[in-house]
Point group: C2
Chain length 167, copies 2
């Protein structure tokens, strides 16, 4: 069982967007260059985050992505669900109802005991992910990483075409 | 992200083996018939559980699998790890160290903040799985399911070739 790499990419991009400031927009190309990632694939993850309301996307020569709200209001669970989908990792196929030892429908009104136990663990995982936010991750990273992100953004911004330059 | 079906199969087989009695042996063919599963694929999961010390396998005409110890001593985590492997679902590829915004090695002595946050959630999931055992799942399933498993086993046992019949 392996989570999509898009989760790692999406989380790092949200943290970087948090560091440079909630209202600031960065293009996929720049985020891809910052982390050395393939821009087309990264874009799929960023679009998924925008569809889920974690990021806001904007078009145009200065377009790109920004955080939809404060980093403290974006949980890790929202990022994971946006990219992985909300479906559980353990999917019960109801084998209690099949084969020579099948239980009758009358005994299967409550969820399968195996599925319920696995669900309990997945709830613990989801609870932990919903307790943590982009802000808590930002706070636990080295200050130097935050400073470097801001500095990098200032440099790339000066290289961005302005409306005047484009027109 | 989806867990292998082998986890569901392995858990149900352990629960069935627990119901019929810890010392009792059942063949893969019979377990496959009980749940309507493909025997060759099920066998891979049961062999993985045997390699992990959850089941004990035995060869011969009355061979098969039995629980290696009491159901209360087998955690769900052991079954999941045996079949899925112990590797984390979230795998950090250290993108903090790559691209134009890469952090120098001196800043990367502690684990990546994103990876640490994801790890914390995975630890919560693993802790929950290690608190639950095959015995707790057996206890939360309907008594009728346990009774049916025992009855099914009695019937299949009478159909098993005895040493005398084979010799």
């Amino acid at each position: 069982m392996r989570m999509s790499q898009g989760v790692e990419w999406g989380l790092h991009c949200c943290v970087a967007l948090g560091w440079i400031g909630q209202g600031e927009v960065i293009s996929t190309a720049k985020l891809a260059a910052k982390f050395g990632l393939p821009a087309a694939y990264l874009n799929k993850s960023l679009q998924a985050l925008a569809r889920a309301g974690v990021l806001v996307s904007s078009a145009g020569p200065r377009g790109g992505f920004r955080l939809a709200r404060a980093p403290s209001k974006i949980t890790l669970l929202e990022v994971v669900d946006a990219i992985e989908g909300p479906e559980a990792a353990f999917r019960c196929t109801e084998i209690r109802r099949t084969g020579d030892g099948a239980s009758p429908a009358s005994e299967c009104k409550r969820p399968c005991a195996v599925a319920a136990a696995m669900r309990q663990a997945e709830v613990a995982w989801r609870n932990e992910l919903s307790k943590q936010t982009i802000a808590t991750v930002m706070a636990s990273a080295p200050q130097a990483a935050a400073d470097r992100a801001v500095q990098w953004f200032e440099i790339t911004r000066s290289a961005t075409p302005t409306s005047a330059a484009v027109s």
